[in-house]
């Protein structure tokens, strides 16, 4: 009996069943309302881009991991989620191959080349999207007019251009339009309620907390009001909600402790307002979150949580 050998690993010996794949699958589930709204509004355009991006994501992950000698990792769902995100960040009218290039940049360069999930500094999907946003501008100088815009941007009449121009009457979608559904902008920006339902699911499952989204949205609300904008319209329009709940909360690229997360959210909120109001409305949320991503390692270093017992010392009472 005593000749048997048993496993000698460190405690704890029991662990919760949740794994990375559980969380990624939950993110995909949380995106369902957003995807459904996009499909309802844009039909085949949306479907083609979503499928193309998921294929590009999974394929580029597989190829990169093969080249770099890593085990294939499709089972963790992270490539699929990245593919869905890139597609949703772009407007449906974007050619599918264009969205695919953005996805390849996201997965192959920003994620795998940086060492794989967990090592990346920037949110892969946002980085892929912003890359294409910039490339499309250069491209546009040459010949075609590609209507690439989104996470906050769009070239045609969208809520954000109205904000930029200070026009709040006329053709813009009303509050109910923004809240329920409207066409214009990225696929992810169709319906605010769809975003909120997905976000509620992620909160319910414990994957995200209120700290980052509330501090971004709260900061944007207050600062836009100070700058004379309509604050409610400001936070409801464009990709602000989607970015706050789905992109800025990305586990890997956001700070670890709650205080640092609030600071991170406030910084992103300020950047969004400044960029939207004083620079280009297009891509404001995406740029802001990427800058926030870059600050994450610093925030993790500088903002360290107060330990148990260091918060307050209770005066020692004499025995009665």
């Amino acid at each position: 009996m005593s000749a048997n050998e048993y496993l000698l690993t460190a405690p704890p010996h029991i662990k919760r069943e949740d794994r990375i794949s559980t969380a990624m699958r939950d993110v995909a589930i949380a995106l369902i309302p957003v995807i459904v709204m996009a499909l309802v509004f844009f039909r085949l355009y949306a479907l083609v881009n979503l499928v193309a991006c998921v294929i590009a994501a999974v394929a580029s992950e597989w190829v990169m991991r093969k080249i770099m000698g890593r085990e294939p990792n499709i089972g963790d769902f992270s490539a699929i989620v990245t593919g869905l995100f890139v597609a949703l960040l772009m407007p449906p009218a974007v050619p599918f191959w264009y969205a695919m290039i953005g996805t390849i940049i996201a997965v192959a360069l920003v994620k795998e080349l940086m060492g794989g999930l967990g090592y990346n500094i920037f949110n892969p999907a946002l980085f892929g999207f912003v890359s294409m946003l910039i490339i499309s501008r250069l491209w546009a100088l040459e010949n075609v007019t590609l209507n690439l815009g989104s996470l906050d941007g769009v070239t045609s009449a969208t809520p954000l251009t109205f904000i930029k121009e200070g026009v709040l009457n006329g053709l813009r979608p009303g509050y109910w339009g923004l809240f329920l559904a409207h066409a214009g902008g990225a696929m992810a920006e169709v319906s605010l309620i769809a975003v909120l339902i997905g976000a509620a699911y992620l909160m319910y499952r414990g994957h995200i907390t209120w700290h980052i989204p509330v501090s971004i949205i709260g900061t944007a609300f207050i600062l836009s009001a100070i700058l004379g904008q309509n604050p409610l319209y400001f936070v409801m329009a464009g990709g602000l909600a989607f970015g706050s709940f789905f992109m800025a909360t990305d586990w890997v690229t956001s700070p670890d402790n709650r205080l640092a997360q609030i600071i991170y959210g406030v910084i992103i909120g300020i950047l969004i307002v400044v960029i939207r109001v004083y620079a280009a409305p297009t891509g404001a949320v995406a740029y802001s979150i990427l800058i926030g991503n870059a600050l994450t390692p610093l925030l993790n270093k500088v903002v360290v949580r107060k330990r148990f017992g260091a918060v307050k010392t209770v005066p020692v009472t004499e025995s009665e």
Partner: protein, 441 residues
């Protein structure tokens, strides 16, 4: 009922049903016991017997002059067969006294004497002579804890009846079966440190024990029973103190800093036994359970009994055990085989199968922050690991490495299955080595 608790923590499956309702039974005495001379936190003992000596059950066989130390006693009557290094439950070679047990063991310690006349000094001496250590698992010499610094008066003694580790039920059984001895032990402790208040903290998954103890303390001034939320690690010293008194022990300080003394249920009963019966710590109750134990039991086992003998008392192993653990599943020690012997701090022996044990490979940290929420000490476990991987020990300490008491809540929730505790232990060792170098230079 309003349940008290702390911030953070986790809710693992408790799996106590197999043994919670089973009365403790006495294990048979093995043919041979292996008693490590060190079973406590502190200075090691030197054997006081030689090979070939006759020893009686309860006879002191190892002691030390050091303050932070606890003597060891023979758990059986018999003959010293060998004094040699044997791997203890951590696998570390430890000087051990091997004793061949007589075929029949005397029935000792039956005569109860009145303990009310004992002075605090005498009670301390009793605890020291009995080799009493924290029986919850930490094995810190009780005598030392009963001697708090003069400038830190103790006003409250808390009996830890949480038993927040999954699977374990030995403290639950002790509360159910020996409530009077427990309360007597608590009173002795209150007397030693001059505390006016005594609190028995019990998790609310043991309502029968809470009801029983509440009825028992109804006539006792200053003593109360507090029901606590079922959450791990409710029974960790600092968490328990906060839950019960609202006081927070500062980082790297002892409970005396906030005028509290915490002792485990088993320790309180053992102190009473030592005082009333003159019985040293030679046996203890432990829970033998897990999906691979045929008949899970709460057993009274002699110190020095090999794990294999304990498991035989429970019908042996069934199924395919992949891990044998001494202690609880959150903080216990994995065993490479069944040879190590039960020590004073052994609260359980678990035989777990592949479905119960986590077998997943470690993956990259994805920054989900769940370890931060789980950590009852408000540390940053993921960044301790990240720093430790890079060999940045000072940075690991900035994120709390030395404040970690290794409850394992972080690893339990981790979706990447990172063994934080292993990294923390490594960091602590490196930090201790570094400060030694600094001190010596």
């Amino acid at each position: 009922m309003e349940l008290k608790t702390f911030r953070g923590g986790i809710h693992p499956p408790y799996k106590k049903e197999a043994t919670a309702g089973k009365a403790t039974v006495k294990s048979s005495v093995p043919g041979e016991v292996v008693i490590p001379v060190q079973q406590h936190v502190g200075a090691p003992n030197t054997p006081t017997v030689k090979v070939g000596d006759r020893v009686e059950a309860g006879q002191k066989i190892g002691s030390s002059e050091a303050f932070i130390s606890a003597p060891v006693h023979s758990s059986v009557s018999g003959t010293v067969k060998a004094i040699e290094e044997r791997p203890n439950f951590t696998g570390a070679p430890t000087n051990s006294i091997v004793i061949t047990a007589d075929a029949s063991q005397p029935d000792k310690w039956a005569e109860k004497k009145d303990v009310s006349g004992l002075s605090p000094e005498q009670i301390r001496e009793v605890a020291k002579e009995a080799g009493l250590v924290g029986l919850g698992g930490a094995a810190f010499p009780t005598f030392v804890k009963l001697t708090p610094p003069k400038d830190k008066p103790i006003d409250t003694v808390i009996i830890n009846g949480c038993e927040c580790e999954p699977f374990l039920t030995c403290d639950h059984r002790l509360m159910m079966e020996r409530p009077d001895d427990l309360i007597a032990g608590l009173k002795l402790m209150m007397k030693v440190v001059g505390a006016q208040r005594g609190i028995i903290g019990v998790e609310a998954n043991k309502m029968d024990a809470i009801d029983l103890l509440t009825s028992k303390v109804s006539g006792e001034p200053g003593i109360e029973v507090v029901a606590l939320e079922v959450k791990y690690p409710e029974g960790a010293e600092k968490m328990l103190i906060e839950a019960v008194t609202g006081r927070r022990v500062p980082p790297q300080k002892l409970p005396s800093e906030v005028s509290v003394l915490v002792q485990n249920v088993g320790t309180a009963i053992a102190l009473y036994e030592a005082a009333a019966l003159g019985k040293p710590v030679v046996e203890r109750v432990l829970t033998v359970t897990g999906p691979c134990i045929k008949e899970p039991k709460n057993l009274v086992v002699k110190v020095g009994t090999p794990i294999s003998h304990v498991i035989e008392q429970c019908g042996g192993l069934v199924g395919t055990p992949v891990k044998i653990i001494m202690g609880g599943p959150m903080t216990g020690w994995a065993q490479k085989d069944l040879t190590a012997s039960v020590v004073k701090g052994t609260s359980g022996i678990l035989a777990l199968d592949a479905a119960t044990v986590d077998m997943n490979a470690e993956q990259r940290c994805v920054g989900c922050d769940q370890c931060l929420d789980a950590c009852p000490m408000f540390l940053t476990p993921n960044l301790i690991v990240k720093s430790a991987r890079l060999g940045k020990w000072e940075e690991a300490d900035k994120y709390g490495a030395r404040d970690c008491f290794e409850c394992g809540a972080c690893s339990y929730v981790c979706p990447s299955k990172i063994p934080h505790v292993a990294y923390v232990r490594k960091s602590k060792a490196e930090l201790a080595a570094a400060s030694e170098v600094k001190g010596g230079a």
